[in-house]
């Protein structure tokens, strides 16, 4: 795929510069107040099944993971906190059961400190999760990692409550 770039002259009207937008597939939304609920609460697995076609077993399993798709981290730490080990376990079980499934681990930090250094911290978090998944039998080829550092916060805000929600690794499955 060739990515169009923006010639300065092509931007006379900024609102019309839609040609420059790379296609974005937003991963599943983090649950609201996920930090408080531990990100591992289970709700409404069957809700998505209200469409015309019944979900396959794999789709149902994937839907169940929608509320277990984020691990949150402590400040300046890349250790998986005890309460999120269940997130790792659930996702690892899914990947082991469905070897064709592909997972992308997206590492993120809060906004404090230098942006490129935070890319490093986000990567470290993503790699910690990746290694934990490998230890649970997931094949290396099923996972990729990316670090967004502080560039893609889950929530706006400049206080500890916002920071806590932004220090995270998101589990994003290829659609």
């Amino acid at each position: 795929m060739k990515f169009t770039h923006v010639l300065a002259v092509a931007l006379v009207a900024l609102g019309l510069a839609a040609c420059t937008k790379p296609k974005q597939t937003k991963p599943s939304e983090p649950p609201p107040a996920a930090a408080e609920t531990g990100g591992a609460s289970t709700t409404g697995v069957g809700e998505a099944a209200t469409g015309s076609k019944p979900l396959t077993a794999q789709q149902q399993a994937l839907a169940a993971l929608r509320t277990k798709n984020i691990v949150y981290f402590d400040y300046n730490s890349s250790e998986i906190p005890q309460e999120y080990l269940a997130v790792v376990t659930a996702n690892a079980a899914y990947l082991v059961k469905y070897p064709t499934a592909r997972l992308r681990l997206e590492g993120n930090t809060d906004e404090r400190g230098s942006p490129e250094y935070n890319i490093g911290l986000g990567e470290r978090r993503a790699q910690t999760v990746r290694r934990a998944m490998l230890a649970k039998g997931v094949a290396d080829g099923q996972m990729t990692t990316v670090s967004y550092g502080e560039e893609r916060p889950a929530v706006a805000g400049h206080d500890e409550a916002a920071y806590a929600q932004n220090r995270r690794v998101e589990f994003v499955y290829a659609q």
């Binding site: 010639l7 420059t20 790379p22 404090r112 400190g113 230098s114 250094y117 890319i119 400049h158």
Partner: protein
């Protein structure tokens, strides 16, 4: 006299809040304009009168004297006289009645006029010492590409150099990243503007993050990181044409580009299994040379001006500190910073004598400058989240990103820390400023 000068300077700086963010005509104009707010006093700014120039109407964005005065004010070293206090409008030295300007407590006066001869416009100006009446400078500058503002910036450069001994850096540009929208839906733009925030133009934009703009030494290209393919890659873009090359899209991280002083190589950060290290990429041959091989995070390379060494951030000792590696000698990187528990994102001053960085100082991420000889660190700012320092090419000023009251702004601090100003964004957050080199003349 000194006290009076100081008071005038302080008063002028304290109460003047002026807007540079006027709407711009022309192609490619970005709406991410910056507005300069002088937020802190300059106690010893030198009073100077920049009289409205002849041959043009007063006011508007092309008002030469207003641009010159704005530049001089932006430097923090001068306090231009308010126009409404001027009792006369001389446009040539012979018209100046020096006693009047002495009464107005101006130490210096600049007069001039735009002249059109055979279809070509130029601007003639003179600089005088008000006390002695001595002519300090008389020059005529061309108007490049019909840009009165460019001519005015050139005049400010010359006046600044004549009075301080330091070449002015007003004819330069800044690159920065603007971010608009609420997570998770955000729009990222890479913007280049004049050093005073004017003429903002988008270089590229994306719904995915854009990071780390870095100028080539000739000021023609920008290297930056874009996540537009949903993973990081480094691009080098020619500003004049928009033409760009993807120079690194290796598996893992591609980050923190920095042009070598000769412009032929790019120091970059790459990762292998999550381990970040610094490499040097030869832009012509694509040859890759590994610089660091530690298990820690090694990133944010900055070249020394002679190209012989690279400063970088590493947490190999447990927390982020700055190290220096000599490229000619194969030996361990030397740790440079020891004060404070977090020092990152080094930038070497143009003369190679100082290192600007982000330092965690009493609970706040702030801009510090280290004297590389004595290794003493001075903290220049007092914010909670000041980051991404970048030296002006004359070394006199550092631009950096500063978050306050929930807004990401750019800010300026003199490299001696004596004054500070903010460039506020009219829309969204602005971050990661990079000051251009001098323009080619």
């Amino acid at each position: 006299m000194q006290a009076m000068t100081g008071w005038l300077g302080w008063r002028a700086a304290r109460f003047v809040i002026f807007s540079l963010g006027l709407a711009l005509a022309g192609t490619g104009a970005s709406h991410a304009q910056l507005r300069l707010d002088i937020t802190e006093g300059v106690r010893d700014a030198v009073p100077i009168a920049v009289v409205p120039f002849g041959g043009q109407a007063e006011g508007g964005t092309n008002d030469i004297a207003a641009v010159v005065a704005g530049d001089l004010r932006l430097s923090g070293r001068f306090a231009p006289l308010d126009r409404k206090d001027m009792v006369a409008r001389p446009t040539i030295g012979s018209e100046i009645r020096f006693p009047d300007w002495r009464l107005l407590k101006s130490d210096y006066i600049v007069v001039g006029r735009a002249v059109t001869e055979r279809g070509a416009t130029s601007v003639a100006f003179e600089l005088f010492n008000v006390q002695t009446g001595e002519l300090l400078l008389a020059e005529t500058v061309p108007v490049p590409g019909q840009s009165m503002r460019a001519a005015a910036h050139r005049i400010a450069d010359l006046v600044f150099e004549r009075l301080t001994g330091i070449p002015g850096a007003f004819s330069t540009r800044i690159a920065y990243v603007s971010v608009e929208g609420t997570p998770p839906s955000r729009r990222y733009r890479l913007v280049v503007s004049d050093a005073d925030g004017f003429n903002a133009r988008n270089v590229t934009e994306s719904n995915e993050p854009i990071m780390s703009p870095a100028w080539s030494p000739d000021g023609k290209d920008l290297a930056y990181v874009s996540f537009e393919t949903r993973t990081s890659a480094i691009y080098v873009q020619r500003l004049a044409t928009g033409e760009r090359r993807r120079v690194s899209a290796r598996a893992g991280i591609n980050g923190a580009p920095a042009f070598s002083p000769d412009g032929r190589r790019l120091a970059i950060t790459l990762s292998r299994d999550g381990n970040l290290d610094i490499y040097i990429l030869d832009l012509a041959t694509q040859a890759l040379t590994r610089v660091t091989s530690d298990e820690a995070i090694d990133t944010e390379a900055a070249w020394s001006p002679d190209g012989d060494s690279i400063y970088f951030t590493s947490d190999r000792a447990g927390n982020a500190q700055i190290y220096r590696v000599d490229l000619a000698v194969a030996k361990e990187a030397e740790r440079v910073t020891f004060t404070n528990s977090y020092n990152a994102r080094p930038r070497v001053s143009p003369n190679g004598e100082e290192l600007a960085m982000v330092t965690l100082d009493r609970g706040g991420y702030r801009i510090g400058v280290m004297d590389l000889k004595s290794r003493t660190l001075r903290v220049l700012t007092d914010g909670q989240q000041d980051e991404s320092p970048s030296f002006a090419p004359n070394g006199a000023t550092i631009i950096f990103a500063s978050e306050s009251r929930g807004n990401g702004d750019l800010a300026l601090v003199s490299s001696d820390g004596r004054y500070q100003e903010r460039l506020r964004s009219d829309s969204g957050d602005v971050r990661e400023p990079a000051w251009s080199p001098y323009p080619a003349r």
